[in-house]
């Protein structure tokens, strides 16, 4: 039993694992986008750049301050999230009275500026970031070799995704968020400081992106363009899952990652476009996305 459908199991599981890893990042990033879109109604085009900033944050903390990966995992999201808070407070918040397209344009412009600045400073070849000592090595599962760090990424992403889902769907804090997503003005009339909530929500969504960035640093090299490449696929994931749907973005992220991995095994030529083909089909059948509701 070393072949399934004529494919060596090693290759099959190897690609499945890569799919799961990619899916972990898709899920985290599209979740951040969904949280932001739900409340702010803005498609945060700077998300890829913020993910990249998370990775650079990890690199900086290690190189300049000698702080380990584990510190970066905590500090990266906080630092990048704080820049998100500043962006919301001083830029995005001025645009809510205008068409949502302006918010989209602003974040798109910011993404270009941020990426440009980092490329100017670091070039685009990428900087190495080592896997933390405690997660080096791997497990031989018999049918495949599972690197510890990759197992950790999948577990951490799942935990953070489900934790976020729980917070939004099952806690009081989340009920504010859901209520404000449905009727922002009215929630404010109940004595809740909605502008502050919007600021923090944007910061949180950005922090999720940065968290993904820190986790990506040891897997992909730390480069100014790492987010720009990824974010296009993530937007497709968001559209397939349904704009603003929390569970939709998590499930779709993982499933599409796996689908992409499997495509690499069975029909490698299509692996780069399979997600976009799925997107086209979903949009034809269910324009609001698999988990979305028409607004």
């Amino acid at each position: 039993m070393s072949e399934i459908f004529g494919i060596p199991t090693q290759a099959l599981f190897g690609q499945l694992l890569i799919g799961l890893i990619n899916g972990s990042f898709y899920a985290l990033l599209s979740l951040g986008l969904a949280v932001i879109f739900g409340l702010l109604n803005i498609i945060n085009f700077a998300h890829g750049a913020q993910y990249m900033m998370g990775a650079f944050c990890a690199w900086f903390l290690l190189k300049k301050l000698g702080l380990s990966y584990w510190w970066a995992l905590v500090l990266g999201p906080i630092i990048v999230g704080a820049t998100g808070v500043v962006i919301e407070r001083f830029m995005l918040s001025k645009l809510y009275k205008l068409d949502h397209l302006y918010g989209f344009l602003l974040t798109f412009g910011l993404a270009l500026v941020i990426q440009g600045l980092f490329r100017h400073e670091f070039g685009s070849t990428g900087l190495p970031y080592a896997i933390p000592k405690s997660l080096e090595g791997g497990q031989n599962l018999g049918f495949m070799f599972l690197p510890n760090y990759r197992a950790w990424v999948i577990a951490a992403s799942l935990t953070v995704c489900l934790g976020t889902w729980f917070m939004i769907e099952k806690t009081k804090l989340g009920s504010y968020l859901r209520a404000a997503t449905e009727n922002r003005e009215l929630v404010q009339a109940f004595g809740i400081n909605v502008p502050r909530m919007i600021t923090l929500t944007y910061g949180f969504g950005v922090a999720l992106g940065a968290f993904a960035g820190v986790m990506a640093a040891p897997i992909y090299s730390v480069s100014p363009l790492m987010g720009g490449d990824l974010i296009i696929v993530v937007f497709a994931v968001v559209v397939i899952g349904g704009m603003g749907s929390i569970m939709g973005s998590i499930v779709t992220g993982f499933v599409l990652g796996i689908l992409e991995g499997l495509t690499k095994v069975f029909y490698p030529e299509a692996s780069n476009i399979v997600i976009f083909v799925v997107m086209a089909i979903v949009l034809m059948i269910k324009p609001a996305g698999l988990f979305g509701t028409q607004r």
Partner: protein, 236 residues
């Protein structure tokens, strides 16, 4: 204590673009229960939104809550002063359960005075529907929840915008007795209605709003003597 009004609306104007929706409105609320009656489109909801600081109208003039100016204040700050808004059409949140509605808006003071259990005591029907979503309730249940929700914020002045709209007569009576009960507990009520017969059973005095102006104020006791006039105002 000197008769300082709890809520004093003075020379209030509201505009939507260039159209004026309220013109020189003066209303004084000194406690008990006050109604503002008027037909559809006379500016009732605009008045409510102006008090709680909600868009979209542009407001000039003054609304003072025990001396504190509300015009220009963010609506969450107005709410913190103890003004609770039950909007027209209830406006529940479809994705929140009954229980979540009651838990989310609680302020510290409000949660003490109106525990979730007490809200359920006031509206036993809601307890049975605790896990249901806001969109799965009947009109009457929605109204009960909208009132229960606002009590939990600790509001002392309730602003009720057409609470009887679209409800069966039996339910209207229930809502009426609930409002009277709240009044007896010392809450101040501002009721905005087009249903005069209902307003008569809960309010002590009635301001008549027509085309954005207050054209009369009639205490409940004098209402019967002025019925002819009032019917003319309301066009019934």
């Amino acid at each position: 204590m000197a008769e300082q009004p709890l809520l004093a609306i003075e020379a209030l104007n509201a505009y939507y673009g260039r159209a004026q929706a309220l013109e020189d409105v003066n209303v004084e609320i000194t406690g008990g229960s006050t109604s503002v009656i008027g037909r559809n489109g006379m500016g009732k909801t605009t008045l409510c939104n102006a008090i709680v600081g909600l868009p979209p109208a542009r407001i000039t003039g003054s609304i003072r809550d025990q001396g504190k100016e509300l015009v220009g204040l963010a609506s969450y700050k107005v709410a913190k002063l103890g003004i609770g808004y039950v909007p027209q059409g209830r406006r529940l949140f479809p994705s929140l359960s009954v229980d979540e509605h009651l838990r989310m808006v609680a302020s510290r003071g409000g949660a003490k005075r109106w525990t979730v259990d007490r809200a359920y005591e006031l509206f036993p029907r809601l307890q049975e529907r605790k896990r249901n979503g806001g969109a799965q309730l009947s009109g009457g249940e929605q109204q009960m929840l909208a009132i229960g929700r606002i009590l939990r914020t600790g509001a002392t002045l309730l602003l009720l915008d057409e609470p009887t709209e679209g409800l069966a007569p039996v339910i209207v009576q229930q809502i009426g007795s609930t409002i009277r009960k709240l009044k007896d507990e010392g809450l101040t009520i501002l009721l905005v209605e087009q249903n005069l017969r209902f307003a008569q059973t809960v309010a002590d005095r009635h301001y008549v709003l027509e085309s954005g102006r207050v054209i009369d104020m009639i205490p409940s006791a004098e209402l019967d003597a002025n019925m002819q006039k009032v019917h003319e105002y309301l066009g019934v």
